[in-house]
């Protein structure tokens, strides 16, 4: 058998699946977003019309799109720093030579990551129940009035953010731990001989050397958090007062509840462009920040 041909045979199944069920639909989504594909077109394709950029234009004039975008940015802007801070703290604690039974702690802290979002979101819904939830009960013990966590438009998104931090911090914790372990121990040794305190070692050795790991973690988490969907679907159904409608939730509703597939495709593409723009910007900022520190010394 010719080796060139063998290679293509090995590639064929995967490329066929990815081509037909991913790449092709992505291209089709761009086309679909330029049409008024709706329930009528679903019934009879002759009802389909090309509308150019109308769907995008209409989106920009739709208040719900802007609030969905605002909610999603809120989730990303608050959720990502909190998640990564939790991951960093957990990783630093676990990595400390003073920590006991490390494998046990690592497994326990990672456990929420492998659980099913829907199942644990259901748990949180009961824990944060206004009347019978353990959270409000605990708060009442220290004299705080019950909070309508998932029913108050001001509290619903913070509750979802708290859930996301709990569910996801273990993932980045593992990556950051690997980054910490890659820092040569003799650097700390030298700093200790020079009399540097623990906080100074952290600022001048740990953080700078952890920088590439942190950038990777930030970009992966930002891209992931923009895809918020299951949490509001299960915990709040987008409410109260649409305060937890995310961009993907809007896409799902437009597309599969109202069957406005043209509009929904435009929403999906907008989200893609936003994720792409934000992650590219972060990557640029990271690269720009690297040079002065790296070259001056």
């Amino acid at each position: 058998m010719n080796r060139q041909r063998a290679a293509w045979l090995f590639l064929a199944p995967a490329l066929l699946v990815l081509g037909v069920f991913f790449i092709l639909p992505v291209i089709a989504a761009l086309g679909l977003s330029l049409t008024d594909y709706d329930l009528y077109a679903l019934a009879d394709i002759h009802n389909l019309r090309f509308v150019g950029l109308h769907n995008y234009w209409a989106l920009l004039h739709r208040p719900l799109f802007w609030s969905a975008l605002g909610n999603t940015f809120y989730f990303v802007a608050v959720g990502v720093p909190l998640s990564i801070a939790a991951s960093l703290v957990a990783a630093l604690l676990l990595n400390s030579p003073l920590a006991r039974i490390r494998p046990f702690f690592r497994t326990v802290l990672f456990a929420p990551v492998v659980t099913t979002v829907v199942a644990v979101a259901v748990i949180w819904r009961y824990l944060f129940n206004t009347r019978y939830g353990l959270v409000n009960y605990g708060l009442a013990e220290i004299g705080i009035h019950p909070i309508d966590w998932l029913g108050d438009p001001h509290w619903a998104m913070p509750t979802i953010i708290a859930f996301a931090v709990w569910k996801n911090f273990g993932y980045n914790m593992i990556i950051i731990m690997a980054g910490l372990q890659a820092i040569p121990p003799d650097l700390y040794e030298a700093a200790r001989i020079d009399g540097a305190s623990a906080p100074r070692q952290f600022w001048h050795i740990t953080l700078p050397l952890l920088r590439p790991t942190m950038m990777l973690v930030v970009i992966l988490t930002v891209a992931g958090y923009f895809q918020l969907f299951a949490e509001p679907y299960v915990m709040t159904e987008g409410g109260p007062l649409q305060s937890t409608v995310s961009v993907l939730y809007l896409m799902y509703q437009d597309g599969f509840k109202w069957w406005n597939l043209g509009t929904a495709s435009a929403v999906a593409f907008m989200l893609f462009l936003i994720i792409f723009a934000v992650t590219t910007l972060l990557l640029r900022l990271a690269r720009r920040g690297e040079h002065p520190a790296g070259k001056r010394t």
Partner: protein, 273 residues
């Protein structure tokens, strides 16, 4: 700082974090054994007064949980087996076989990783509707039969297979398929386990695509069934917690058993290659 104090502080903080991570899961387990209505009391009980399997019986006898469990097992196993086969072959080809345009094609695939899967979902639904796969097991399985991440993972690992081994087999006249099956696959065993558990967990926990493509209850996976139960049985916290246990326990156990492979894959997949 006093090293003894530091030790107490660090282990105390770790214990607090561990408690926060574990408490919701332990509470779920405890409530799932409570009698109906027991959890909706003040003060909220932490442990069941008389542990009962009532909720589990109710779920399997009347709510069709057995069926959903089988659906989840079937769909996740099928996706795992098929994706494993195609990703292993493709990853190996990218790592070890020479062909025109190899690097460029691989770069293109990695570039496509920035596209969120949800962008493809609307046309994919129409495509599957045309070929009659909406509301079928195949509708969930087919788009998951290969993943860019899986190909990447296998490629990274397979690059460590020594070329001399493959060349020697070629000189002996072994076919490429035989080389792959008898020499390469045994060497890829660790990454096979890693990829299998990753794929299985992702398929088991997946929500959005099954929600879109499965329109009838008879094909529902556990997360879908749970989400729809949660809407109909808002008051029945005990029943819902039992449902959550049935959904979460299989993947938690699988993770505990194969933890080492899972964490290895996580690191291999997130380090730039």
């Amino acid at each position: 700082m006093n090293p003894r104090l530091a030790k107490v502080l660090i282990n105390g903080s770790l214990s607090a974090l561990a408690a926060a991570a574990l408490l919701p899961l332990l509470w779920m387990l405890s409530v799932s054994f409570m009698a109906p209505g027991e959890a909706s009391a003040l003060p909220p009980p932490l442990l069941p007064a008389h542990a009962t399997l009532h909720n589990y019986r109710e779920l399997f006898a009347h709510a069709g949980m057995g069926r959903y469990l089988l659906n989840s097992l079937l769909i996740s196993s099928a996706i795992t087996a098929l994706a494993l086969a195609s990703n292993l072959m493709a990853g190996y080809a990218f790592a070890k076989l020479r062909f025109a345009g190899r690097e460029r094609l691989f770069q293109a695939l990695i570039g496509a990783l920035v596209i969120p899967a949800q962008v493809a979902m609307l046309p994919l639904f129409l495509l599957l509707k045309t070929i009659g796969l909406v509301n079928s097991y195949a509708g969930v399985i087919v788009p998951g039969m290969a993943t860019i991440f899986g190909i990447y993972l296998v490629r990274q690992y397979a690059r460590g297979v020594p070329d001399e081994l493959l060349e020697a087999a070629r000189i002996d006249g072994a076919s490429e398929l035989r080389i792959f099956g008898q020499i390469v696959l045994p060497l890829l065993k660790p990454i096979m386990v890693t990829l299998a558990i990753f794929t299985f967990l992702a398929a088991w926990n997946d929500f959005m695509w099954p929600l879109i493509v499965l329109t009838g209850q008879e094909h529902y996976t556990l997360p879908l069934a749970l989400a729809s139960l949660a809407r109909d049985h808002v008051q029945d916290s005990e029943l819902m917690m039992a449902g959550s246990v049935v959904t979460v326990l299989p993947v938690l156990l699988l993770f505990l058993a194969l933890q080492r492979y899972y964490l290895q894959g996580l690191l291999l997949g997130s380090v730039k290659g």
